[in-house]
Subunit: 177 residues, 2 copies
């Protein structure tokens, strides 16, 4: 074990994927049920990977809401904050796993994330303002063997970092019921 | 109230922003503390908006982990699933708020999200494979006044939809401690 990662199993996983690339095809899923106003509940349970349908041990539910200033009742983080949380988790795990794979011991990882949103975009007040994040700033404080340049390199391998930094194709289907 | 949204307050908010665009500048934040392996904990509490520092009623903590097949202990959804949860919450809230603003009553919103990730990207096995989501498919089932074309239009105003569909500038700072 290194950094809490079973490096033997990690090497075996990477080798299995190298032999059979179809094992690497994963599909992740979420469902969402609107309650009212800014409150809704997402559930994550099943996914697909290594050529089979799988499930988490238990379903994970996540309440999203808006704070009072954005006309909600503050029953959960808001959706754009969930994205920062996902980015933070992904960059952290990517650093821990890749460091383990390279034989680098990590003692601690702490990080802070801040992103800018101009609500003129969401409210359709200025066509030149995008509704989403304009910029996200990330600070990592790391204790361990990896040097700064290596940490910078490894953090950029994060799937959520790539998902945000580069465009993703999104297909939307709507059914009236 | 329409769709659980105070439409008088919503119109007042939009009008205030139209008069003073700096009220629309929001900064959302998250912190993350690594535990071990694929387990880490994100916290969302303070944010900035309407020209002042604010806080949620309480800090929201989110445990991320990986399932056993990805060498974790499955103590929470994984980071790429958090992104789908954020997308689901944001598209749902955007539909509820914009429909309310247009005088359209919505009775129910349910949705499903599925995204494709090829782990050859994360594992550095193929430089042509991106680590993040290649494609995300979204299905909405909506009961209410809005017609299908309007729903399609409103869902695309979502800040998280825009954040994923288009590139975001991300700056990374690393400190060795």
């Amino acid at each position: 074990m290194r950094n809490g990662v079973n490096v033997t199993a990690l090497a075996a996983t990477i080798n299995a994927v190298r032999q059979q690339p179809k094992l690497a095809q994963f599909k992740f899923r979420a469902r969402n049920q609107w309650d009212t106003g800014g409150h809704n509940v997402a559930t994550v349970h099943d996914f697909y990977g290594t050529c089979q349908d799988m499930e988490h041990k238990e379903p994970f539910t996540m309440h999203a809401d808006e704070p009072a200033v954005l006309l909600g009742e503050d029953q959960g983080a808001n959706p754009v904050e969930f994205v920062l949380a996902g980015l933070s988790g992904c960059m952290t795990t990517t650093l821990a796993y890749h460091s383990a794979s390279r034989g680098l011991n990590i003692e601690s990882i702490e990080s802070e994330f801040e992103g800018d949103i101009d609500l003129q975009g969401l409210f359709d007040l200025d066509p030149n303002v995008r509704p989403g994040y304009r910029e996200i700033r990330v600070k990592f404080r790391v204790k361990g063997d990896a040097d700064e340049a290596t940490i910078q390199e490894l953090l950029r391998k994060s799937p959520v970092y790539d998902t945000l930094a580069n465009p993703v194709k999104i297909k939307i289907e709507v059914e009236k019921v």
